[in-house]
């Protein structure tokens, strides 16, 4: 603790330090985290918790479980903080952990059902789509949009898992094809074809909702 921080409450000092990390890249913050800085770790949690939660939630249809898995992702990051190499992108690393943990969850669910096919996840999610919670009642003018949102969620949920994970990483997380390939451990050509297949399937399911201005 700096001498000038002596009279300041601990939480404020934390916030101050967190602010000071705002300008740093993920990799630099992770480097500090590797040296044992809790503030740096908290900064990473703040940056990534929503993204990880969204990613995991879109793979498994269970919000509580998604939160547990998201926490597990950060626990893994903390546990392996010294193994992280700055040469790689932090986002790729943490998303790889998240995808692997999510796949484990899917496998264990599928195994519980007595089948070993990952495609059986569709059955697991019941074809109901992935959670896009919207608890607030929608005004009348937004009803159309709300319905479309549900249809999009349903269409995404009905994609086979290997296509869904590719399209979610690309279109929800905005990752490059190369990053998607690194995270999923598949070559570039496979990434390209999976994303394309997934989008074509989505397009077929969402066709009735495409307006002239969309097209």
């Amino acid at each position: 603790m700096n001498p000038e921080d002596d009279d300041v409450p601990l939480e404020l000092v934390r916030l101050k330090r967190l602010d000071s990390l705002a300008e740093l890249s993920d990799e630099d913050i992770m480097e500090r985290c590797a040296t044992g800085s809790e503030i740096a770790f908290r900064a990473l949690v703040k940056r990534y918790r929503s993204r990880i939660m969204n990613l995991v939630s879109r793979f498994i249809n269970d919000r509580d479980r998604a939160e547990e898995i998201s926490q597990e992702v950060f626990l893994r990051v903390f546990r392996n903080r010294e193994r992280y190499r700055k040469s790689g992108k932090f986002s790729t690393w943490i998303f790889t952990i998240a995808v692997n943990l999510t796949k484990n969850e899917i496998r264990s669910r599928v195994r519980h059902k007595g089948t070993f096919s990952l495609d059986a996840l569709e059955e697991e999610t019941g074809g109901q789509g992935l959670p896009f919670p919207d608890t607030n009642p929608l005004p009348d003018e937004d009803l159309g949009r709300g319905e479309i949102r549900e249809k999009v969620a349903e269409a995404l949920g009905k994609l086979p898992p290997r296509y869904r994970e590719a399209v979610v990483l690309r279109d929800v997380e905005g990752m490059s094809y190369e990053e998607v390939g690194q995270i999923l451990g598949i070559p570039g050509g496979t990434v390209r074809s999976r994303i394309n297949r997934a989008r074509l399937m989505l397009k077929e399911r969402l066709k009735p909702f495409l307006t002239l201005e969309d097209v």
Binding site: V45, R63, Q71, I148
Partner: protein
Amino acid sequence: MNCRSAESLFSAFLDDELTQAERRHFESHLLGCRRCSQSVRELKGAMALVSEAVTASAIETSPHFEDDLMDRIRSGEAMRPTVVEWLQRFLVPERLGPAFLVGASACAVFVAAVLFQGAMRPDVTKTPVMAGRSTSDPVTASPTVPVSSAVAELPAVAPPATTIASAVPTVNRTSAPRQSDANGIVEIADRAIPTNRAELDSALPNPDAQFVDEYVTDHFFLQRGGVVSDPQQSSLVPVTDKGSDGVYIEF
């Protein structure tokens, strides 16, 4: 480029992931194909819908997410290795080295023992068989059957239904008195070793059992053939478990 191959490039085109050559071919196809250009527009619209829906329905973590996480870290849970991590730590080369050496040594000793045992065993295929018996004899045609087990399989009263029995012509074994020890080794005790056929037959307590005994002793003879002075002479060595070399037990 046909429509099928063009369709496989729709997403890469929209994401600007095509090479220059691919883009050139693709665009020239789109110019001449109304269906594909319409599909590309629809795909773009669908992607916009998905993007909008995803953005509008972002899922937030619970307010106590961070505190729960830090509590788990402080409790030491973060440092608890998973099964896979534990195995990875255990299976490091430094730890595996001594274990590997011990395992390799044990394997080497075992292999050496097996080889030594094989080298010490006499070669039964080169030993002469009893005079007057051809190799096509059904008894000698099954030399791989262990004698001790074959004899042990012969019941004292009931007719046998074992593999050795099928190799031996029908014999009334009920009349062949035998004594067997705890290991099932049949004993024809304390007789002088017969040296010819006549003595052989007379040495048997029951002529009906001759074939079985011959079979047994034939193999015993084969094992002991090296020590018989005149292998051409028909000879029979009674089976006994009191031999000094225990050779029939090894059968």
